[in-house]
Point group: C2
Chain length 734, copies 2
């Protein structure tokens, strides 16, 4: 394995110094040393402490400089005010990697922030890599390394799961859960404040690690969501990534004045990111382990068809409920399967899925049934349920399941052994044999649904970021430059229509006027019917103030309409001082949609698409993706709406031109990528028409901001290639 990242110094060191090692039981400096020794670290360990000669029977050195041999990694556990000094000593000694356990940096605010800045300066000077500060350490179960550089009381079994936790405290619990489930890890890292090594580095490292087959993440934030996306998209083709992301983004709150922003809110950025790069998201740590158990030890199912085998009706029903409600299907058994089952199962057994063998089913019944089900091509995965009758030996049941499972690697088998885990329950044996075992049927069903989703992610075609050649960038550049120069937050309606036109997004024809006379003059006969719309900077939602008059068929109606508009204005508590009126070609029919974009400080531009109209706006049937969109992203935004059927056409009604909508989203995406100064866009209503016809924005708003610095430095050039390039200057943290 190549180590371009320099992370071998952290995960595979040959020698370790513990700066701040201690004799005091229960102290972190003692527990880490103890864990390294107890779990038989394959390299050398040097305790550093000026006040001791030997710790844990090992010679102790007063300073790092006094160590006679080279040191690959330093674990720092000294008090916070000595921590930076310790790093400096590591640098001087030629240490390549540091685990900074010590806390009291940015996370405590105030002086801690300064201390962290100091820390960064020092370790960068020596070009070292660092995990932490404020972390609980690193662990590698590789038999040739066997490093437990944590202060957790539990080591981990050798296995194929890489586990990253942003919370150190949770890390302790995570190792206990894994142990309780007999679940093996390849490596574990608690990344703490992530001054250097963050999620992206670790992902990249584990992507290349042969022992790591599954990656589990507990995240609280993303340092660099673009880099994360870029890496994760590639990795999930080979290794599933499953994540809990806690702490929701407050993106949308700030933008309450705009529809797009108001709909965005909360967690949409994270959701979009995970969907786009194919990371499986779960909401809780126990679910993370439910999935981890199965992904690490069972094959991925090829489809949605589940068979359930049980010795009790109630749990069978619950499992069926669960399977159906997570979107999987109950398998239909072949005639052959049914007749083979009938040969030996009791008359009282129910052979249809779920198969209820009833309470007196024995180990042989489980074994033969499983063998038969595994051979049925109409089944993609199995849930095996066992409830313990007094007169049945649970361990024998477990043993028979293990025997069958060992002989195949095509279909996942998930076990549900209800009751308590104890010596006679057979659960321990199942877990050790690599059979994920749950206490309740729902956990198994939810896990299978995620595995089936992963099967689709792995096999999904690769999306492309399209580049439209017919766009007019220079004209558009001028418009934005002018707005920024004039310190305007919003583009005028004329500018908006010009920008959209330059990127091939149509709007109805219109003319801006300032008086009734002008209105009548510019509206030629062939243009009727028209609509009148109030254009005033103070008025964001025109229709709320009676600023939209629709469907004027002739000059008389036009005159009355204009006067009604003025009348509505005069009734406002604060009528706008300066305004114009837009005389717009009246567009009739079509399905009302909404498209938009808002800027999230951590994810950058988020594109939004949804069904429009006042009903749907309140029901919030919208989807979000992080810009740039691939063609598949754009299509998914449309097809995953709850109301997608309405776009396809219902009750004999013609469907709308979906391809055109997808094209418009991609053009919007290109516009947004070309102009990072766009802060918010709102194309509402956006009207779609039947297949073969175009679609258009009836109304649109664009606001701009000065480009945030990250945006400028982050050289993501989505248009020049199908993949964002990463910039070496970008900080290497997630």
């Amino acid at each position: 394995m190549r180590d371009d990242l320099g992370l071998d110094a952290i995960f595979r060191p040959k020698s370790i110094a513990i700066i701040g090692a201690s004799r005091k039981k229960g102290s972190i400096g003692r527990e880490i040393l103890h864990n390294l020794i107890e779990n038989e670290f394959a390299g050398a360990v040097f305790p550093i402490n000026p006040h001791a000669d030997y710790i844990h029977s090992i010679k102790c050195y007063p300073s790092l400089a006094a160590v006679p041999d080279p040191v690959d990694m330093g674990i720092i556990v000294v008090p916070k005010d000595q921590a930076v000094q310790a790093v400096d000593e590591c640098g001087k000694k030629g240490v390549k990697g540091i685990i900074m356990i010590t806390a009291g940096f940015k996370e405590v605010g105030g002086k801690g922030v300064e201390r962290e800045e100091e820390l960064v300066k020092v370790f960068r000077r020596y070009k070292m890599r660092m995990v932490g500060p404020n972390c609980m350490g690193v662990l590698n179960t590789d038999p040739s390394i066997k490093m437990d550089a944590t202060f957790a009381p539990t080591f981990a079994r050798d296995g194929n799961i890489g586990f990253l936790s942003q919370s150190g405290a949770l890390g302790v619990a995570i190792l206990e859960y894994a142990d309780d489930l007999n679940l093996g890890l390849s490596m574990f890292v608690s990344v703490g404040n992530k001054v250097d090594i963050g999620g992206s580095d670790v992902l990249e490292y584990w992507a290349q690690d042969e022992r790591t087959k599954v990656i589990l993440l507990y995240l609280e934030d993303f340092g660099n969501p673009r880099k994360f996306t870029h890496l994760a998209r590639e990795i999930v083709k080979h290794k599933p990534i499953i994540a809990v992301k806690s702490g929701r983004t407050m993106a949308g709150a700030r933008a309450a004045s705009s529809h797009t922003g108001a709909l965005a809110g909360l967690d949409v950025g994270t959701h979009a990111l995970f969907e786009q790069c194919g990371v499986l998201r779960v909401n809780t740590v126990d679910r993370l382990f439910d999935l981890g158990q199965a992904f690490s030890r069972q094959p991925i199912p090829k489809g949605k068809r589940v068979a359930i085998l049980t010795n009790a009706g109630g749990p069978g029903i619950m499992a069926t409920d669960a399977v159906v409600s997570v979107g999987l299907q109950m398998a239909q058994f072949s005639d052959k399967t049914l007749s083979r089952l009938r040969e030996f199962l009791s008359e009282e057994a129910s052979l249809q899925n779920p198969i209820d063998m009833i309470a007196h089913a024995n180990a042989e019944n489980y074994k033969r049934s499983l063998e038969i089900l595994l051979e049925d091509d109409g089944i993609d995965s199995l849930i095996v349920i066992f409830v313990h009758p007094v007169y049945v030996d649970a361990k024998k049941i477990a043993e028979s399941i293990i025997q069958v499972a060992k002989k195949q690697n095509e279909k996942p088998i998930l076990c549900v052994f209800m009751g308590k885990k104890h010596e006679e329950s057979g659960i321990e044996e199942l877990q050790l044999a690599g059979l994920p075992t749950y206490l309740f049927p729902e956990s198994a069903a939810i896990t299978l649904a995620s595995m089936e989703k992963y099967n689709r992610i792995k096999n999904r075609p690769e999306g492309k970021i399209l580049s439209f050649k017919d766009i007019k960038k220079p004209v558009t550049q001028k418009i934005f430059d002018r707005a920024l120069t004039e310190n305007r937050e919003r583009l005028t309606d004329l500018e908006v229509s010009q920008v959209l036109a330059a990127y091939g997004i149509p709007m109805p024809k219109f003319v801006l006027v300032r008086s009734l006379e002008e209105t009548v003059r510019v509206t030629e006969q062939q243009n009727y019917p028209v609509a009148l719309k109030l254009i005033a900077p103070e008025v964001v939602h025109k229709s709320d103030v009676g600023g939209v008059i629709l469907d004027l068929h002739n000059e008389a109606e036009l005159v009355r309409g204009y006067m009604r508009l003025q009348d509505n204005l005069s009734k406002l508590p604060n009528p706008p001082q300066k305004y114009e009126v837009m005389v717009q070609e009246m567009v009739k029919g079509g399905k009302e949609l909404i498209m938009g974009m808002s800027y999230d400080p951590s994810f950058g531009p988020l594109i939004m698409f949804g069904l429009g109209g006042v009903y749907v706006e309140y029901l919030k049937d919208v989807s979000f993706r992080i810009n740039p969109l691939t063609d598949l992203d754009a299509r998914e935004m449309v097809t995953t709406l709850k109301g997608y059927k309405l776009l396809e056409g219902v009750r004999g009604e013609k469907g709308v031109n979906i391809d055109k909508i997808v094209e418009m989203l991609l053009r919007l995406s290109q516009l947004i990528a070309d102009f990072p100064c766009i802060k918010e866009m709102d194309l509402n209503p956006f009207m779609a028409f039947p297949e073969g016809e175009k679609c258009m924005a009836l109304d649109a708003r664009i606001s701009v901001h000065n480009v945030p610095p990250e945006e400028q430095s982050d050289e993501v050039k989505p248009r020049s290639s199908s993949r964002a390039k990463s910039n070496p200057n970008v900080k290497k943290h997630v």
Copy 2:
């Protein structure tokens, strides 16, 4: 406690005979005897077996007749073909209650069904009460009874939870879970096939039982949903009922041709029932225990405001996410609370909710913080999180929480101790002290949300079933009688409008015509604009076939419209042979709603209400309630819609007349209650207008069926009193 139900013979017998007692270890006949003896049943036990003199050192009798003393209860565990005979012997001996463990009855089909019919005849003859068949027994922890009449390996701790399971197999697991959580039960019953004693009887019995404070149910079906509703509505005022209901109803499937039916589908009946009677529903057995732990041992919170106290940031964030996402609120601390906390918590602690005391927080920190939070009036409930740092004694933390919790009974305290339960984890101590303790923050948040919901259920005003005096029942009766006599499934449009009018539900004025000439003749000048609608029995969705022509303003438009209608008809693959045309007053504006009713074989009439229009129909924003509706039920149906805001009026638009909609739902409810022959109704679209104005059905369909027998015998008279009377002839099962 009075025993009108005769259930004391089952739950509090003085003497028990085990018919089919056995010496064979692992056999059910031995395990039940062993459990009764081992757990020191307070009465006499008589083993019955012709082939043994003594079992478990107790004198064994060859037959029940040979027992010299009276026997209150018989537990039957003989093979299925001897079971009915055993019941007969019990009857002859004067036994009052029976637990029929033996399986092989209705659940296996075929001969089992006959066997069950035989069984019912025999036990009814002797007026005995029976639990089962096909069950795993009954348990009562009352110290004066101490009866473990189950074959499960686990007895239960003395406690205040009554647990009913419809699945015997699950019962075994349930007792293990309860034991693992140190959760005490008052009684447990596995009801099996429920030939006699079902959920309603047990509810009624536990309602009066002083030891039972919380009722947990695992149900697979309802025998008599009306009786259940009636009882549960009363009980939840004093004792929370929490239920898992597995196995979804297939009600709606059958009615695919009608909107209402299609929307109904699946699980709506159960959902409606639980909502109406205030039963808390959870989807999984583990959630049942999450709630059971807290409801049985902690006070009910007075509101939504939660305080979180933690020694680790990550879990604090997860808990916050969870609290907000279940609809609770993060409490705002008072200045006094903040300054008191600041006095002793470390500088690095974060005092805002969630309070993160960071890893080195000790038992004293937990104790003082908790005391302060309990005194803040802005807090309704507390979640206390602890993650175990190596240098902290978890048991001491647990002890300090217990000390504080003991001193108050105002605010619920839920603990989250992350990691594994083991000797040093403190979890055992917390559970024994009555502090619900979870491994993950989400479980605590979900539980608190249910407790808060229960607080609202307990305090909600009692709904009334209204009886409108202005209705015309006799006229309506005639219409339905005629349809039934003529064997018609559907009422004609004229009949529909007459029925609705008789119950005060308006429709627009209309005339039915058969020719263009007639159309022109009947449409008088003042009636314009009008709509034309095709009326043909074959056509269910008129608008799908071009059978609705709207907005005709004068005679010329009327003629053209009529011809267009004929033209549309001629294009159909199978044009209707006979049809009429409805000339209807054109109603403009208003909000489009939908109301309806479908008949569910187990729940009876289900009333449906929702937002209308093609969009919303696909998004399924609808609510269901079981008839009859109280005024509060009807209002809830309206206010709990996701799109309720749209009815209240958005963006300055006027809201609709909610009171009128509620009245219409209640009139509909009365109509449906008065005429059980109504099988389906569909008022679609139903238009609502602004406050002060009326609302009306623009189109409606009613179909009828011969009244199902249960409906006739079940003398629920919702109109004569606010509470359904129960009929002594109705079978006493849920």
